[in-house]
């Protein structure tokens, strides 16, 4: 089934279609959320909340505004960032790991048999520092191009092309 059909059925409250979308994106959202909150239980909780939220506000999604993945990625990042701003969370996690997502990959020793994950681990260890930073900010943290250029102190145009090159390297490694 085409993604467009799947999303359309999901918007008509088709649970089966929703389940397929969940299977496609839940791991990804889990990764993004975990990278922000750095707590396994909280990350799972937020991830489930994100999908329940997506189900209830499915009518607000429009393909014209962006990809379905991008839509749910936004919900996930916002939910995770909201959580880190909550009082309870700040008190409990004062020493949030400052590492980028690569830190998680480099330090994780249970990557299962997922060849992709093992490949990605190799990729990120070889990846240039500037690539790690730009991918972290644009995809995991949801920075705008402008915010990223200010944080990394480089021109907006450079962010754009550098990101393009970094994603190309990733795609080459993943063969997509």
């Amino acid at each position: 089934m085409q993604l467009e059909q799947l999303v359309s059925k999901f918007q008509q409250k088709d649970v089966k279609a929703f389940e397929m979308l969940y299977n496609m994106y839940s791991e990804s959202m889990h990764g993004v959320i975990y990278n922000i909150v750095r707590d396994k239980e909280i990350a799972e909780e937020i991830m489930q909340d994100v999908f329940i939220k997506a189900w209830h506000k499915s009518d607000t999604y429009s393909a014209k505004k962006g990809r379905f993945f991008t839509w749910i990625l936004n919900i996930a990042r916002n939910a995770a960032i909201d959580k880190t701003r909550s009082k309870n969370f700040k008190n409990a996690n004062k020493n949030l790991n400052a590492d980028f997502f690569v830190g998680i990959l480099e330090h994780s020793d249970n990557l299962d048999k997922q060849t992709d994950a093992i490949g990605i681990k190799k990729f990120v260890t070889k990846l240039a520092e500037k690539c790690k930073e730009v991918i972290e900010l644009l995809y995991f943290k949801g920075y705008t191009q402008k915010e990223a250029s200010e944080t990394l102190e480089m021109p907006i145009g450079t962010i754009k092309t550098r990101n393009r090159n970094c994603i190309n390297e990733l795609r080459a490694m993943l063969d997509v």
Binding site: V15, E19, Y22, N23, M24, Y25, E27, S28, M29, H30, G31, V32, Y34, N35, K40, A43, E44, M47, Q48, F51, I52, W55, H56, A63, K64, K65, G66, R67, F69, T70, W71, L73, N74, F101, I104, L105, S108, N110, L111, Q114, D116, A117, I120, K121, I135, L138, Y139, F140, G142, Y143, Q145, A148, K160, N163, R164, I167, L170, R171, L174, V176
Partner: protein, 268 residues
């Protein structure tokens, strides 16, 4: 339009990241609909990002779609249940109120019944006390009557009739003298009531010489019902007499007021 240059610009990567403005995104979307090459590029970029982000997720996660499914379906069921339950709840409420009103009324009725029963018990108690008194009185009367019968049938008792004297010829009394117990039983049924301030006084007499000995006054003569009086008498009496004397009695009998007199028939 130079599609390759457009792709190489890096705008599609930003499109997937969600950092473009809404207007820019709409433009990209329009181009993906127009050029399959651009759409394919977007899909590839997206796939690589999905895999990269997924690789960061903790691998020992326990989550499953079922958790979410239960929540979203139960949420829908809940709303249905609420709408269906509403009349039910009202019905239960009404029945509940009705039941409590009936219960309250029942309780009041029972309290009232209880009070009535208590009052009835009080009345019955009073009746019972009254009856008990009557039984006691009857028992006392019976005991006195039995005693009288016993006295009359006792062979050791000497009967002494006291006949009316002088002006008091209609008066009559009888003494039953139990010499074993040194007591007399005076039956004064046929004496008139003692006037105010006067009492009857009983005398024991010996005839040779005539010597009266007071056996005492009958102070309760007018109130006694059977007019039988028990009097101690340890004298060797030969006759008994009754005179009317001023209250408190006299040393010697007032002979003008001698009502009755009788001589003991046979001296033992």
């Amino acid at each position: 339009m130079d599609i390759k240059a457009y792709i190489a610009s890096g705008i599609l990567e930003l499109y997937v990241a969600g950092t473009l403005s809404e207007k820019e995104s709409q433009e990209v979307f329009a181009l993906t609909q127009q050029y399959p090459e651009i759409l394919e590029e977007v899909k590839s970029i997206e796939a690589s990002i999905v895999k990269l982000t997924a690789s960061v997720a903790p691998k020992d996660a326990k989550h499953s779609f079922n958790t979410i499914k239960t929540q979203i379906t139960s949420a829908e069921n809940d709303t249905k249940v609420i709408t269906m339950d509403k009349p039910k709840t009202n019905w239960f409420t009404y029945v509940g109120w009705a039941a409590s009103l009936i219960l309250a009324a029942g309780l009041l009725w029972m309290v009232n019944e209880n009070n009535i029963l208590k009052q009835q018990i009080e009345v019955v108690e009073t009746d019972k006390e009254f009856l008990e008194t009557q039984i006691e009185n009857a028992n006392n009367s019976l005991a006195e009557a039995e005693k009288l019968v016993d006295i009359l049938r006792d062979r050791n008792i000497v009967e002494v009739p006291l006949d009316g004297q002088g002006d008091f010829a209609n008066a009559y009394a009888k003494v039953y003298w139990d010499q074993n117990s040194n007591s007399i039983y005076l039956d004064a049924k046929d004496l008139p009531e003692a006037p105010e301030g006067k009492v009857y006084q009983v005398w024991s007499l010996t005839l040779n010489p005539l010597t009266p000995t007071s056996l005492g006054t009958i102070d309760d003569f007018n109130t006694d019902t059977n007019k039988i009086f028990t009097i101690t008498n340890a004298n060797a009496s030969e006759a008994f007499g009754i005179t009317l004397e001023p209250a408190g009695g006299s040393e010697t009998p007032t002979m003008e007021q001698l009502y009755t007199l009788g001589v003991v028939a046979s001296t033992p």
